[in-house]
Amino acid sequence: MTDSRPVLTMTGISKSFPGVRALHDVNFRLFPGEVHALMGENGAGKSTLIKVLTGVYDTDEGAITLHDEPVSFSGPMQATAAGVSTVFQEVNLCTNLSVAENIFIGREPRLFGAVRWGEVRRRARALLARLDLDLDVSAPLGSYSLAIQQMVAIARAIDIKARVLILDEPTSSLDADEVAQLFRIMRQLRDEGIAILFVTHFLDQVYEIADRITVLRNGGLVGEYLTTELPQLSLVEKMIGKELDVLEGIEEHSRRDLATLEEGTPLVAVSNFGRGGAVEPFSLTIHAGEVVGLAGLLGSGRTEVARLLFGADRSDGGQVAVDGTASSLRTPAQAIDHGVGFCSENRRAEGIVADLSVRENMILAMQAARGWLRPIPRRRQDELVDKYVKALNIRPADPEVPVRNLSGGNQQKVLLARWLITEPRLLILDEPTRGIDIGAKTEIQKLVTQLSDGGMAVLFISAELEEVLRLSHKVAVMRDRQMVAQLANDESLDADRIMQTIASGSHREEADR
């Protein structure tokens, strides 16, 4: 498997952005027929390495060879033509085009120059079927959730007759089944001799699929290892650069007691909330200090529930009570007035304002709540920003750089900080740990626990059931856009039972009451 010559080598790669040295003298090799994991903390330079390889960025220094030929791509178009197929971090597709078109654009089957649309749709359906997806391929991609979009991006990449397949955090928005599906296909491709570069923050996934691991830290190369020869703990140590008991931190697993919390008036109680075509009406109460987990398959409507509660979408009907008094949550501004915060799963489109600096992005929600006439004094801004840059370990630590220059994970932390600064009473976190490295993930989990101990209510949405179970007092289960059950997180609750609930939907009546 690894005794042949590498299909791809990168030597001495350096790349700087104004003020940041993203890569410094990095070497990397990729062999045919292997899955090679590229690991590192947020901002370590993984995505940059991939973009340098595919010609999105020019290198400052260094050389790249493909099949022993020196190459220097001017952009993804050339890279694709040379057999390097890439799924970039953050879904990079055109949401205004149909699903089928997104898969085939640029290499549509044609007859005398005319695109054969029937053929495009047929092939798209066939390809998606390989990923166990059954979509309306002529619907615009934008009408599907981020997870589906991610799957479509993968479908696009694997259809290309590639020798090298690059997947930058493809699994961050997928659930277990889809990950399994993806891995099945990755193995199949690997056995066909394709070289796969794979980036993820899930250690389990690395050990499940990767043959070899390259670790980056702070833009520098730490080393290249065979997966079998690198225990998990030392991998984490190599990524973080110091010996840490993070893993133990994660193992800590406390059942959280619901009973005492549910006394008294709920902080937010909604009944018969719903929106035609998105979520069936549901009722939910959240108490101060309570963490409610929202579980369900992708596309089951979790994000929709969150958006309704935050007023990002309007509910068709139903009542809301905040602190026991009837209120309305019809716009985000209203929700924020009631002390609700919402950290969207789609950070690029709905989260960051790329033009603005880290500082401005962080104080945005607080400033919006105060109104534009009462600016937050600069000193206070700096204090707040400084505090959260430290607390969340945001890098680079310069609050004045435009947030667009941050790596994906660090952008996520900025968003989190934006909401923490507003000191909300109910914080809705939609996939807050997606694309975040293991250290930061633990930090966020700890943070959620701390916040709820301090009296904040949290609605926690995550594709990882483990995480939901670990943090929540109560788990609401979504299935096919219905809230089918609300389960107290007691001894009897585990991932299996939630999966069964999802699969059978038998608890539906229980939720409807």
Binding site: V56, A79, N92, L93, C94, G106, A114, V115, D177
Partner: protein, 329 residues
Amino acid sequence: MTTGTLTAGRNRFRLPRKQIPVLATLALLLVMYGIGVSQYTAFSNVQVIFNVFIDNGFLLVVAVGMTFVILTGGIDLSVGSVVAMTAMVSAALLQDGMPAALVLVIALLIGPTLGLLMGCVIHFFEIQPFIVTLAGMFFARGMCTFISGASIPITDGFWTAMSQERIGNPRGNFVSISVLIAFVVVAIAAYVLAYTRLGRNVYAIGGNPQSALLMGLPVGRTRIAVYTISGLCSAIGGILLSFYTLSGAPLIAVGMELDVIAAVVIGGTVLTGGAGYVFGTVLGVLVLGVIQTLITFDGSLNSWWTKIVIGGLLFAFILLQRLIGIRYK
């Protein structure tokens, strides 16, 4: 556990959603025409409709080019001036006695060349299209006055024939050759947008240029092509205009870019790019044409009331279109 096929069967009601703006425009256009017919007897003549096409053939062609540009999220302010420049160059060359065929070739080359140049500046130097094409507009208009300060009549036989040929019944209802040319351009454009890679790339770039780049699409080439196409359409439009007026005048088609942009947007194309159809643009041009016809038929408006009424009708139209669009979304 076993979840067979993941049915993300999230079939929201979305059947004609993309087409709604276009359909709304169509409906409103019919209503407006109905109003005209009920108010003025002569409005129902078939020739009135034909005249709308005859009088707006060149606008239609230019608007088709603009549709390409706007679909990528760009804008081309130079079209009016390029139209004028093409007409001006043709007139000047014909006056100098150059054969018509050669003049046609030269005139049809100028627009795309300028478009190509602007496209290159926009793409390679990443300057906003608004500015680059504004400079293009100044340049082309400057060339017009540079060629001649006064209008130049065209007496060439070919031009006159193209101008005065009536297809149909010359004594009854007829259209001009320009109308046929315009329809051919519309048909080609519709085909290109729907069935060719270039066309699909246009939509992709309009949807998200960053993604299009990362998807390996030829963003630069497409963007340059789009401005070249717009330049070509402006050149064809300029030729049609010179058929139409049998002359080149330095100040003709001033402000035409705004009419064209308005037509494209009324036709349902979004200025940020990525959504819209050539057919919508045809409707948009018709809307502007019918508004004007209504006003001339009325014939009682003061100069300033004309402007106010045009603004008012435009407003009513856009508002209704918008409301219908929201209702059925």
